[in-house]
């Protein structure tokens, strides 16, 4: 498996760039890295709210929430989530939150 390095810390990632060891390796530096690759300019409280909601749900349920549930818990309509995370809630937000790659095939 690949690893990537950001500001001197290295992380184990899968081929789509998701953290392999999840919360064990997740830190603010990781957030800063994902910000740079997923088209996010400035981290805001709104970004943080999405990240917190994802991590909380994941801790409780062991999977990422459905998009609709994410919208409900954060109060952000889907459109806003795409504005915050241009590559979407799965590829952008889940990656930043350190969740494993959401499953889903075609």
């Amino acid at each position: 498996m690949a690893s990537i390095e950001h500001n001197g810390t290295s992380y184990e990632v899968d081929e789509d760039g998701f953290l392999l060891n999840g919360s064990e390796e997740w830190d603010e530096n990781w957030v800063d890295y994902v910000k740079s690759v997923e088209g996010i300019n400035d981290m805001t409280d709104e970004h943080q709210k999405v990240i917190d909601a994802l991590q909380e749900y994941y801790k409780k349920n062991g999977i990422a929430p459905m998009v609709r549930i994410l919208s409900k818990t954060t109060g952000f309509p889907l459109k806003r989530i795409y504005e915050l995370f241009p590559s979407g809630p799965g590829k952008g937000a889940c990656k930043m939150a350190g969740l494993p790659k959401p499953t889903g095939c075609v």
Binding site: V67, K79, G90, K91, C105
Partner: protein, 426 residues
């Protein structure tokens, strides 16, 4: 990328048929990664297991769908297919391409991908097979800016809508399939590009019950053209068929000698509802019994035509889950007007009624047909505000003493049975 020995695949080049192995070998001359597809497939044949990994997550900024991430699990041996993502590209309504556009698409894919395509996938869109993650943004830029085209849907969203060629060429079309397909594609851009559903959702539009896009088998929301009044009969035309002056089925069977046309054997006796007969030399149809199967019209297109009061039937919930097996869509709305005059407002209302409900009660990765099955058709009909009618019923119930709704039971489900029986003492 080197050529691999592929003795098992080479077997598929034998015989008189076209062979994808031959095609890929030819493609490999300009796109050497195609050798690695063949190499990996050969290995899969030997190992009897696929060497593609489970789906990845890749995409372009702004969209959550449209590209299906694919990776090899043996990238060291087959570096050409280390990444082999599938790109879905929205097809023109009714599949009308200009050669100029086709060339531009192929040039685009030659530049950014393997050059391998599948025209078209079951969803109905163009499937471009095999590219690397770093090519996705430039490909998307050229596609949208130079070709003015768009990605299709993938993931838990509205999939690229598709339609038969409808009124543009087919006299049987009961509404403008191409127009509604295009209109709803534009209307639902958000739903196509930004997945928010429990699972995939497909629209398909067929102009008549021949259902050339197999909407009833492949879509969650199948709009199939139909008519309310009577099949139009031209008795003079019927006579011409009977006299052998017009070829049956538009001449489709002319390659072989099936003998003289026999209207009884070929039409009347195989009408599925037995609603046709001859009165003297006139063909009669009891239209109230006709199920609009199209058979008689297909056989004698110059004598029979769909009626004049045209619209569509809406069937909901086809699916083909791997474990349960395939299931057709269920007829829910027998007749609806489909007209661009109201910008399909009435059809949109039906769609949104389904979505509002399914987004609320559908489980993750549950197609609407599965949700309908789980909840039951009577409840679904109530959600859709459609009155139940005999055509919704697969078979009549055998026990009339079952009540589904509490309000149908005097005193409710919790009533005191002792008290009730006292009035009816034996």
């Amino acid at each position: 990328m080197a050529k691999h020995d592929t003795p098992l695949l080479d077997e598929l080049e034998k015989g008189p048929w076209p062979s994808f192995v031959t095609d890929m070998k030819r493609q490999a001359e300009t796109h050497p990664e195609c050798w690695d597809i063949l190499g990996q497939l050969e290995l899969s044949y030997e190992d009897r297991i696929t060497h593609w990994k489970h789906g990845g997550i890749v995409g372009v900024f702004g969209y959550g769908g449209g590209i299906v991430g694919r990776y090899s699990d043996v990238p060291d041996r087959f570096p050409g297919v280390e990444h082999f993502h599938t790109v879905r590209i929205a097809q023109p309504s009714g599949l009308y391409y200009s050669t100029k556009n086709l060339r531009a698409l192929m040039d685009l894919w030659d530049k950014y991908g393997s050059g391998m395509t599948n025209m078209h996938g079951s969803t109905g869109d163009m499937i471009f097979l095999g590219t690397r993650t770093e090519n996705l943004e430039p490909l998307f830029w050229d596609l949208t800016h130079d070709l003015d085209q768009d990605l299709g849907g993938s993931g838990s969203n509205l999939r690229t809508p598709s339609c038969c060629l409808g009124e543009s060429r087919c006299e049987w079309s009961c509404y403008d399939t191409q127009d509604i397909c295009y209109h709803l594609t534009m209307h639902y851009q958000d739903e196509i590009h930004r997945p928010a559903f429990p699972y995939k959702f497909k629209f398909k539009f067929s102009g008549c019950p021949n259902d050339c896009v197999a909407a009833i088998a492949r879509s969650d929301f199948a709009v199939i053209g139909t008519w309310k009044d009577d099949i139009q009969i031209d008795q003079a035309g019927v006579k011409e068929y009977m006299a052998g002056n017009y070829p049956s089925n538009g001449g489709a069977h002319s390659g072989r000698d099936w003998g003289a046309f026999d209207i009884k054997k070929e039409v009347i006796d195989i009408c599925p509802t037995n609603c046709m007969w001859m009165e003297g030399d006139e063909l009669k149809i009891d239209n109230s019994e006709c199920t609009r199967c199209m058979h008689c019209i297909n056989v004698m297109p110059r004598a029979l035509k769909p009626g004049k009061e045209k619209g569509a039937t809406i069937c909901i919930g086809a699916k083909a889950p791997i474990l349960d097996g395939a299931q057709f869509a269920t007829m829910v709305i027998p007749f609806i007007k489909v007209s661009k005059e109201n910008e399909y407002e009435n059809v949109i209302d039906v769609i949104e009624q389904i979505w509002d409900w399914w987004m609320e009660v559908g489980k993750n990765r549950e197609r609407v047909g599965e949700t309908m099955q789980r909840i039951g058709l009577p409840t679904f009909l109530r959600v859709m505000e459609v009155d139940a009618m005999p055509q919704h019923v697969r078979e009549p119930r055998s026990n009339p003493y079952v009540f589904w709704k509490e309000e149908e039971v005097e005193g409710g489900f919790e009533r005191d049975v002792e008290e009730f029986r006292r009035k009816h003492a034996a």
